[in-house]
């Protein structure tokens, strides 16, 4: 690798040729503020808060887009640079509602931080402010265009990473805004509710459609039996909301906190992840034996499911009919659990605590009802539940840990890895191998399908059968595999697709402000949990065996189909 020597703020440093000034400065330990920059995508140089002074250059240059050169002398915080940044931020503020006190991002807003760091005390520009109504039409994503600073991060994620393009720059000049076409409400676009735009948004312009108030009401209602369930990724993300380093595991603290704020039961979505594997592996074996459509594609990511319904309605027969794990658990809570404990399902509120915004939309699907009741009544993101825990005055990080409640609280390591891209595939292979050969695998680690690559492939030997499998995360990657199937060129038997890049550990409901390192830390935590579990194969979960014996009968039985499987519908794309 050729290298380049340069000087930043008087410090000499050597970096790879082709690096940007921003990257070099970060390596040298100098923090340059950015707004429009998105690591991993090509820079647009739109916001210009990252400008720096380069000796010999006439104007200030945007460091996120400017490559380093040999002998370059860079200064990142001179008076001239500070003045330029201040003016840029002041201009943004002049067209921004001054609503910090009641804004959902108060305390973790990038615009606020920038204003504070630049020590801005006044906004000298006075002008017309752009006014626009909040769009709360989507059950998952709320848009507040007045708080948008037009950085374009959401636009690029939605287009380049997710291949949806539900929001884009529209109009021009003072009228420009980031919005769907014709200012359509988001719920009638083909937005898949993945929430990746929220993760990227530096301000409160994009946020989840909150269910916090509704959940508090249930918790205060003595007639309601309020049941929480938590997804695998939540336990490795929630610590960050309380200032812990990424990658901390807070399963027990989370359970304690939820029961302290008043949930009557705290169940583990992991239980249903094991159940998903048992059902899905059974379905896969059936499809292979009966010559039904292959490859079979996983169905636990509702963002992915909606994408498929909009863009690949012709390939719906390839989707596994398994409901997503939290919907399975919701269905069991409103049937099995309700019957066992003699509680009227209408008095039970199931609250799913998820790394995901797409699940907020999913719970409203009528096809997922259980005997006339919604299987899940509300979905809270990790951010929302952390806000509730703070409101309740709980010192989260120092809570004594507690176990999940039974009967729906036991899980294997195979369930934990659902949180990461490749995890569902690996978990399914552990069980499918047993179903196909009748023998347990000696080694349950499938390393080929781990890691953050967007598309992963593996050739797996099960007994004397060889299967090709693939894993994709992020919908632009999913598109590659789907186009192959459409052309009849897919070499795979089984495909796992997650809507969010990296899987649930980078879900749209996780803490904001994450980067690749954060996501990697969460991933390591997930595989650590798997390693430490007594059982690591879903079909060995004793609680699952009991559930089939007592209630469901066999995997794939009629009752299992009624409660654990679903149907899909073709949707228009726009």
């Amino acid at each position: 690798m050729p290298t380049v020597d340069l000087t930043i703020n008087g410090r000499e440093i050597t970096v790879e040729a082709g690096a940007t000034i921003l990257q070099a400065a970060r390596l040298a330990g100098f923090q340059i503020p950015t707004l429009c920059y998105l690591s991993g995508l090509s820079p647009t140089g739109a916001c210009r808060v990252c400008v720096v002074e380069v000796e010999g250059a006439r104007t200030l240059v945007p460091s996120c887009a400017f490559p380093v050169a040999d002998g370059m002398i860079v200064r990142t915080h001179t008076a001239r640079v500070r003045a330029a940044r201040t003016a840029i931020v002041q201009l943004l503020l002049a067209n921004h509602p001054q609503e910090c006190l009641t804004c959902v991002r108060n305390g973790d807003c990038e615009l606020q931080t920038l204003t504070r760091e630049l020590n801005i005390r006044e906004i000298p520009f006075q002008g017309e402010r752009r006014l626009a109504p909040v769009d709360s039409s989507s059950p998952a994503i709320e848009r507040d265009p007045e708080k948008c600073i037009l950085c374009g991060r959401c636009v690029r994620v939605c287009q380049e990473i997710q291949n949806v393009g539900a929001i884009s720059f529209t109009k021009r000049g003072f009228q420009s805004e980031v919005a769907p076409a014709y200012d359509r409400q988001l719920d009638i676009t083909s937005c898949v509710n993945c929430g990746q735009c929220i993760i990227q948004c530096p301000t409160g312009a994009l946020r989840e459609h909150s269910s916090v108030r509704r959940v508090w009401e249930w918790l205060q209602d003595p007639n309601m039996h309020v049941v929480a369930q938590t997804a695998p990724a939540v336990r490795v993300g929630i610590g960050e909301m309380f200032g812990a380093a990424p990658g901390g595991i807070y399963t027990g603290q989370l359970v304690t906190a939820l029961s302290n704020i008043g949930f009557d039961r705290v169940f583990d979505t992991n239980f249903a992840a094991d159940l998903t594997i048992v059902e899905e592996a059974t379905e896969l074996v059936r499809r292979v034996k009966n010559n039904e459509p292959l490859p079979m594609i996983t169905s636990c990511s509702p963002g992915w499911i909606k994408y498929c319904e909009h863009y690949y309605p012709d390939l719906i027969p390839h989707l596994s009919t398994c409901r997503s794990p939290h919907e399975m658990l919701g269905a069991l809570i409103k049937s099995y659990y309700a019957e066992q404990y003699g509680i009227f399902p209408g008095n039970i509120a199931v609250v799913s605590i998820m790394p995901c915004t797409a699940k907020k939309f999913e719970t409203e699907r009528p096809e997922l009802e259980t005997n006339g009741f919604p299987s899940v009544d509300a979905v809270l993101t990790v951010r929302e539940v952390a806000r509730m825990i703070k409101t309740a005055g709980i010192d989260f990080l120092n809570l004594p840990p507690r176990d999940f409640d039974n009967p729906l609280g036991t899980s294997t390591g195979a369930a934990d890895i659902f949180a990461s891209t490749g995890g569902v595939m690996e978990a399914a292979l552990r069980t499918a191998a047993f179903y196909l050969t009748g023998k347990e695998l000696a080694n349950v680690d499938f390393r080929d399908v781990r890691g953050l690559r967007g598309i992963k492939e593996a050739r797996i030997k099960i007994g004397d059968m060889e299967v090709n499998v693939a894993v994709a995360s992020g919908l632009a990657n999913a598109k590659v595999l789907m186009d192959q199937i459409r052309k009849g060129e897919s070499p795979y038997t089984f495909i796992e697709i997650m809507g969010c890049p990296g899987g649930c550990i980078n879900g749209g409901g996780m803490p904001q402000g994450s980067n690749v390192e954060t996501v990697r830390a969460r991933m390591r935590a997930i595989y650590t949990i798997d390693q430490t579990k007594v059982y690591r194969r879903s079909h060995q979960n004793p609680a699952i065996r009991k559930l089939y014996e007592e209630y469901l009968g066999e995997p794939g039985s009629e009752r299992a189909h009624h409660l654990l499987h679903t149907t899909y519908m073709a949707r228009e794309r726009s």
Binding site: L131, Q159, G165, T170, A181, Y182, T189
Partner: protein, 185 residues
Amino acid sequence: MISTTEFASIARLDNGHKNREVDLAAVDEILDSYRPLAPHALIPILQDVQEHYGFLPEAALDRIGRALDISTTRIFGVATFYNQFRLHPLGKHVIRICRGTACHVKGSAALLDTLEMELNIKAGSTTKDGLFSIETVACIGACSIAPVAMVGDKFHGRLTVKDIPRLVKSLKREDAKGAAEKAVA
């Protein structure tokens, strides 16, 4: 503090859903003429579609998006970025305000403001009832009678802000008379 012009821009939001019912056969023909389709054909396609319909109907944008595998939103972004594209059909009466130098000096900005307030729309858009559109033009070439507005192909010269409500009222009266005559006949 909300000014009337800002209200106008919010009110405009639902205007777009009106023109969904259009015959898209022409769009399909235009698309066919560009096969094999590639994203860079977008702008010429939009030009042809506008040529045919006089504007870009919403349903046409959806159809083009599906054909080119581009989201409607991105196409809308392109269509609203370039001045040449029109997202709404022109109203029955098109009022063009001249923004040339002579007219500017004689106060055409105030005329435009007044007209926008009177009709509750911005220049470049059409009232919800489809009666009026406001357009601005660089110079109509009638500088001797500045400031000038054109209604259809009629010139109105030496206008003052007071003339604007009168002008709008007379156009409305004309329509009402036309409608009454039709009813009688």
